[in-house]
Symmetry: C2
Subunit: 491 residues, 2 copies
């Protein structure tokens, strides 16, 4: 139970790790860097998938599935891409095991060596553009608007549950277009979809911007991103949308006959979010008592707990509660009635608090007499006694209020933790004392960016899409700059 | 278009391959044995997933996710299991690539060799039971009812789109129980779920039975299966549900404290269906003009095609059609209006016939005058002209009728192609002339089973759950047998 959960103030990192484990979200597996996503954690991911998938379909995308394996040579086809992904990948070299000669177990069968090694996909641009080559002949075949839900593998050395794992689950959209403009519009459209999802479903406000050259996706012309702020003042990249230009079309020779009778390279985009979002969701809202989940992504929105001494009271309470549950379900509310007699009410209270169920209803014999229930909000930890009449409408409204309230709280936190600085001293002081997003002028060079990163561990999270032009001087080099960019320490 | 689709009678295998490609369901990828599932094919799989997932949840299961990789040594822990799966698996031996010394590309970095090789999961019993060991201490932790949607890899030498591919998508349920009886009940319950899904959603009648020792899952005590009959008279194993006994609990030392204070090994089950079902769906119903899809799994249930000469007519027809679409959607019908002016009606008719859309509505200027539409059934290829009034109700009823009718047709086909034989000569003759399911007495030995397989290519598909006891003699050995079993040539 939540007893013994480290506090955030004490040790934020330990708090996160313990919370993920105790709330039954995920655990490390025996395979280095790979996690097991437990049913409760997976059900949050399913809620995310459901909402995102609908948004993708509403914007005209279809799902498809491409191979897990990528021939080694494909990775080299796009020069930047190979730099980004060859260093940390799982390589399949053989396709058979056999009993060892000394009978001690299994060994790789040397006879079964692959002619060309296969890479477990770290991302699928190469294998997908190699496929698109056959799908695209003319402008009539464009655009292609495809998404894939899949697992990918990047051999990370330092892993953390949800935030950075060797294998993770994600979706990757891969689109192909006839014009540069259309591809850029798609890239930006999907960024908006991600921002809307983060804010409306996750209740996490996000900055929308463009990555610097050093931070962009290996193979992209431009990487757009959404950046969220965690409670410890560190940023989390929550989603990226890449304008690929004609880079992958060039690498895989994907051309199309234009309306005008010419032959052009195809323009591309790709965009993705992953199970990392579950980590971000936890870190954005939860408290020292456990998870705080926004109602729109909570696997259970309401839990009802009976408080009874003797078994005779159960029957009456069950009957009453069942009629309430029916009404709630009719209104689309996900409700769980925990009337197990193997656990005490106090244990259950702590359990559902830890699991972040947004609303808890308790009902005892006196409530039954008075036609009341006790209703408790997980986010504010406030309680009140309310009438059972039309309680389903009260609950419906409260769930909406909680969703808004959690978002507003996170937004206030971000605003309080966003600073603007004019000097490097001020920059370092804010980073040290307060953290959060720090806006500052930067001279636009990778060299300055790298030095600031080395000295302070802060990286440029993005250049905001709506940042105003403003003449200023780079806090590090003093060279001229025409807009501020957003720095932060990040996950 | 469907022009040139080989007929089933002519070359069933070529018909299947061509149909899968031309209907945009799937194609071979550049990676040997791995397919690309195209958007239209994937949307059928999504429909299957949706229905199955709901059925799993309704029977108390939750989804979770376990690692893609399995340490090599895990495979050896269960003696039968290793025999079944070590021979055909993808082996990860390294975790990094580097530029080759001669600059010609990427090579595997010999410095990055794994201490223990990792196998890309062919199925997840080992990694899951190794996890369950930590989840299960007492009877209070049981049952565990978990399912996973995932990709798996088996290095098949001869592959066919959907039916047998090196990588495929599937779901694998893995449950843990306190008693033998409860585990057997679970195994049988999930078999029923699969049978219900096959018959109600896929409109494919299935036999329910138990596999012989030679055909059962490597590591199971008993394998239950559903078996469907394809139009070429060959059987397709469509789903399996395994009673694992305590085999994996033994291999991974998974014990629990019983209510009575003892310590027992846990009982297990596993069960799965895969993208192979898409192949089965195609082969069960489709005809020489293309796909025939049951309405419950059709991505598009109704297509509406306007037949107009000049553009002025479009506006009137669009208006009328849009009001009809709205009513259909209200009734949960998935409808697509194809009013592209880049393709002629005849082209569209052939296209949606090929794609197996269950109902086609066509509307021209005269229909508009008469308040009528032409409605065509894909399954029977019949057409009639009907009033537009309440056409949504007509469509709704017709979709149900088509679903039933397709099932009934498949059931009749199976009944006509199920034979009972009393001698080996008769057995061989039926197999040769007619194919289908052949019921015959068998002496229960693996030796006889193997010989029959060698001589006729027919395998024992299952021993029917409801097969009546009947004294007889094995058609091959003449030894006594107390019930007939079902033979067939199979995919």
């Amino acid at each position: 139970m939540s007893k013994g959960l480290p506090s955030r103030a004490e040790d934020y990192s330990a708090w996160y790790n313990e919370l993920v484990k105790r709330a039954d979200l995920a655990e490390n597996s025996a395979v280095r860097g790979c996690m097991v996503i437990k049913p409760y954690g997976y059900s949050i991911w399913e809620k995310m998938q459901g909402a995102l998938d609908q948004m993708f379909k509403d914007t005209g995308h279809s799902n498809a599935y491409f191979p897990l394996f990528i021939p080694k040579s494909y990775l080299s086809r796009e020069a930047d891409h190979v730099e980004g992904f060859a260093k940390e990948c799982a390589v399949v070299t053989h396709y058979r095991l056999k009993a060892s000669d000394n009978g001690s177990g299994l060994v790789v069968d040397p006879e079964a060596k692959l002619e060309e090694e296969l890479i477990v996909r770290p991302t699928s641009e190469t294998v997908i553009w190699n496929t698109y080559k056959n799908w695209i002949q003319s402008y009539r075949d464009l655009p292609i608007l495809v998404n894939q839900w899949a697992n990918v593998v990047r051999w990370e050395m330092r892993t953390r549950l949800f935030l950075r794992t060797a294998e993770f689950l994600w979706q990757e959209g891969h689109t192909a277009h006839a014009t540069r403009m259309e591809a850029i519009e798609e890239t930006q459209k999907m960024l908006k979809v991600y921002a809307t999802f983060a804010e409306k479903f996750m209740a996490v406000p996000v900055l929308q911007g463009v990555k610097t050259e050093s931070e962009k996706f290996a193979g992209a012309v431009d990487t757009y991103c959404i950046e969220a702020l965690m409670q410890d003042g560190k940023a989390l990249q929550a989603g990226t949308s890449h304008f690929l230009g004609q880079n992958f079309a060039k690498a895989f020779d994907v051309k199309f006959a234009t309306k005008e009778g010419g032959l052009d390279l195809v323009w591309g985009t790709s965009w993705g979010v992953s199970t990392r979002l579950v980590g971000g969701l936890i870190m954005a809202h939860s408290d020292d008592k456990g998870l705080v989940l926004p109602p729109k992504l909570a696997p259970i929105q309401v839990v009802i707990i009976p408080i009874v001494r003797d078994k005779d009271q159960y029957a009456l309470i069950n009957e009453k509660v069942n009629s309430i549950i029916e009404k709630m379900r009719f209104h689309g509310i996900s409700v769980h009635y925990d009337n197990r007699d193997t656990h005490k009410p106090g244990w259950k209270f702590a359990e559902y608090e830890l699991k972040g169920v947004p609303l808890r209803l308790a009902i005892g014999p006196r409530d039954l007499e008075n036609n009341t229930m006790e209703i408790a909000r997980r986010d504010t930890l406030t309680k009140e006694t309310v009438s059972m009449d039309n309680i389903e409408m009260l609950v419906k409204n409260l769930l909406e209020e909680i969703q808004d309230s959690i978002y507003q709280k996170a937004l206030n936190f971000r605003e309080e933790n966003t600073s603007e600085v004019e000097s490097y001293d001020e920059f370092k002081k804010v980073l040290k004392d307060k953290g959060g997003f720090v806006k500052a002028h930067w001279d636009g060079t990778a060299e300055t960016e790298e030095r600031i990163k080395k000295e302070t561990k802060a990286t440029i999270r993005c250049i905001l899409l709506d940042e105003k032009e403003e003449q200023g001087k780079c806090i590090y080099s003093g060279k001229p700059s025409n807009k501020k960019v957003v720095f932060a320490k990040a996950y």
